[in-house]
Amino acid sequence: MEVVDIRPMLAPLISFVCAGLVFATGRAAFWRRFWSLAAAVAKLAVVMSMLPGALRGTVYVFKLVDFTPGVGLGFRADALGMFFAVVSSTLWIFTTIYAIGYMEREHSRMRFFGFFALCVSTTVGIAFAENLLTLFLFYETLTICTYPLVIHEETPEAFKAGRKYLTYTLIGGAFVLIGTVVVYNLTGTLSLAHPGILTSSIDTGTLGLLFVALIAGFGVKAAIMPLHGWLPSAMVAPTPVSALLHAVAVVKAGAFGVLRVIYNVFGVELLRDLPFAHVLAYLAAFTIVTASFIALFQDNIKRRLAYSTISQLSYIVLGAALLTPLAATAAIVHIANQAFAKITMFFVAGAIQRTTGKTCVHELAGIGYRMPYTMAAFTIAALSFIGVPLFAGFVTKWYLSLGALEAGDWWFVVVLIASALLNAAYWLPIVYLAYFKAPPGTTMRVAEARPTLLVPTLICAGYVLLLGTTANVPGMPFSLARAAVQFVFGM
Amino acid sequence: MIEALWNNLDYAASVVLFLIGLYAVIAKNNLVKKFMGLNIMETAVFAFIVALGVVEGGDAPIHGPDAHPPFTNPLPQALILTGIVVAVSTTALALSLIIRIHRQCGTIEADELREME
């Protein structure tokens, strides 16, 4: 059931207006904070108000002007989009609170918060995009809006990272644009309202190139190897930015784009007859293992997190590429699972850096005594990544394995197990170091991070637990994911 | 072709003059000379267009008591009157520019000017 409603447009608009207000009045700290928080809350409220309807299967649609015949700026809150929007707007609140604490003594805070809001605005725009062109529009805007955040430090290193980031993502954007143009030229529509708009009447070579273009385009932000190079370098950005990039906005936008391409542009039916998805699945599997392996050797916490992100994102891609309902469920819920766990970790890394100045793994010995709550949150997130039952990550792995078996590709299960082991191998030593390796001769006093840093961390960690334990309770994101899957597979 | 050219001798002459002028514009170094070349090109084009209006045994297109047809084609002539004015306007502007260039740089040779840039 489709309902015309302004709310899908209102959600990105709120953050957009917030950005404008921040730029207008943001020299004063109070107003900067006030607008950021107020917009975050207002937006969450708007998104949440659509949740009951979305769970009932209502799709809210709002169309603005046409750009080209039949395709215009349009917003559409279907189950998949709602899922992404709920996750990102929830996390925006926490990231905002955290950022207020984290950025206290930084320069150019107005710019930071303004572009921060713009990023979230575009992310929700991506979630609610009604057609591929609108999706592309927000996808490109997101690239531009994150640039000032990536180079926030204004050091040569930051400029280099920013250049790298732009090079990768803009080339990706160019691929998406070409793909979009081709799709429009072939079909005359770009709507994402159907389970697939391409048909098998188009010749396979064209479809193959199209698949490569679109997946490569979105795959850059989803950091599928070998398109991942920008992500570790972008770690020079302030931690809330990293959190935003890696958990909420940028990378998820890429992964979400991949989902859209597979489910709404090509459609599961069509892809089953073609070999491309299978190739993508292998690529994802390769990324999962390789990125985890590289992560083992990273000493800088944030770099280790970056490679972990690369690996985790490919879970989503793999789930999508397997083309079975269970795998799809796993792919979608992993958007949330990975987001909450990863943002927890980044919050922890940032809190440690702000509180103690430490940025490397080997410096963390005994930190568990000093910052017990923070490290507890870290442990929860780590366990989730490993895939221990009761934690969010387990849900993903379980369904993904089932999906792989459903698809008859048992050896992807092996990949998942290997990944779990590797995850254990690079997360558990940190936990071990933190709790059981007190540096000799120093008595550790508890010196936790500031509340603005600590509270969001703990809440996010709590969410990870919640997602892991109550996945099947009605009203949780999981049911949204299921609704999306039912639509995609025509169940 | 040679015979056709012989019949269209005016056209051929215009083409030759046009190319002579173009040669000066491209190959000459002195700006004044370049512009003389451009003027030759202009007159060549004018000659071409006037030649379009010529008629075997045609008289000036002025109806008077003692005038009798055939008359030459008045339209190309009218166009060229305009064209000549345009040409002299361009020349005036170009020559003022040359004067300014000379005052600023002390030379009007293209290669020396290029070195100064």
Binding site: - | L19, Y23, I62, H63, P74, A78, L81, T82, S89, A92
Partner: protein
């Protein structure tokens, strides 16, 4: 080297050009498209429809009057351009002028002074008779301009500047386009289209009058502009 290359290229370019112009409608043929289409109309009806015995004048001022409107704008553009580039700021202008580059001999001076009124008269004749004989506004205007130039050389600039009084100068320079606009608007008022001329029976004298007014406008404007161009370029040192 460069010159030889350019020459060679141009000679190569000449071959296709020549072969194509050879395929144009034969020169001077009375049945060519150029002669039988629009121009035939001009030649046949020009004198009655457009009001001047000189068909070229008909075409310039009446049939294609808007072109000429553009033409006088082009020469005004040249004037504005030269002035915008070369016009000296007034503080620089007061400084003492050096003597003319070439001293002018007594004989020349005398002859020019003697001939000046006759030249002016000839110019006026050319202007006023443009619609019946060869010549017209611009030709006459150029003669006027040449007269100004000659007088400047002979009398010196300060004397010659009096020929065009300073306050009137911008008006005179703008005379040609302004005349066109005025006649054009009169055309809208009387005939209902820009640069339209009345052609019905009792009003043909109006048409002739307008043609003469246009010629005078072009002549005065052209002369003023050519004179000013010369002065401005000459004053630059």
């Amino acid at each position: 080297m460069k010159r030889a290359l350019v020459a060679a290229l141009l000679i190569v370019a000449a071959i296709p050009l020549l072969s194509i112009v050879a395929e144009l409608p034969p020169h001077a043929a009375p049945d060519s498209p150029a002669y039988t289409h629009v121009s035939a109309h001009y030649l046949e009806h020009g004198a009655e429809e457009a009001g001047a015995e000189n068909i070229v004048t008909d075409v310039i001022l009446n049939y294609r009057g808007f072109d000429t409107n553009g033409e006088v704008t082009v020469i005004f553009t040249a004037l504005a351009a030269v002035l915008a580039i070369l016009l000296l700021p007034s503080e620089e202008r007061v400084e003492e002028r050096p003597a003319p580059a070439m001293p002018v001999s007594m004989v020349v001076r005398f002859v020019v002074r003697l001939l000046a009124p006759f030249i002016a008269l000839f110019a006026v004749y050319v202007i006023m008779n443009g619609h019946v004989t060869p010549g017209g506004g611009f030709q006459g205007g150029t003669i006027l301009g040449a007269l100004v130039i000659a007088l400047t050389i002979v009398l010196g600039e300060d004397e010659a500047h009096r020929l065009l009084p300073r306050p009137a100068r911008p008006w005179l320079q703008a005379a040609a386009p302004l005349t066109f606009v005025v006649i054009g608007i009169a055309g809208i008022a009387v005939v209902g289209s820009y640069l339209g001329f009345p052609a019905e029976e009792p009003w043909q004298w109006v048409r002739t009058a307008w043609l003469v007014i246009l010629e005078i406008g072009i002549g005065v404007g052209g002369g003023a502009i050519i004179g000013t161009l010369f002065w401005t370029m000459e004053a630059e040192r």
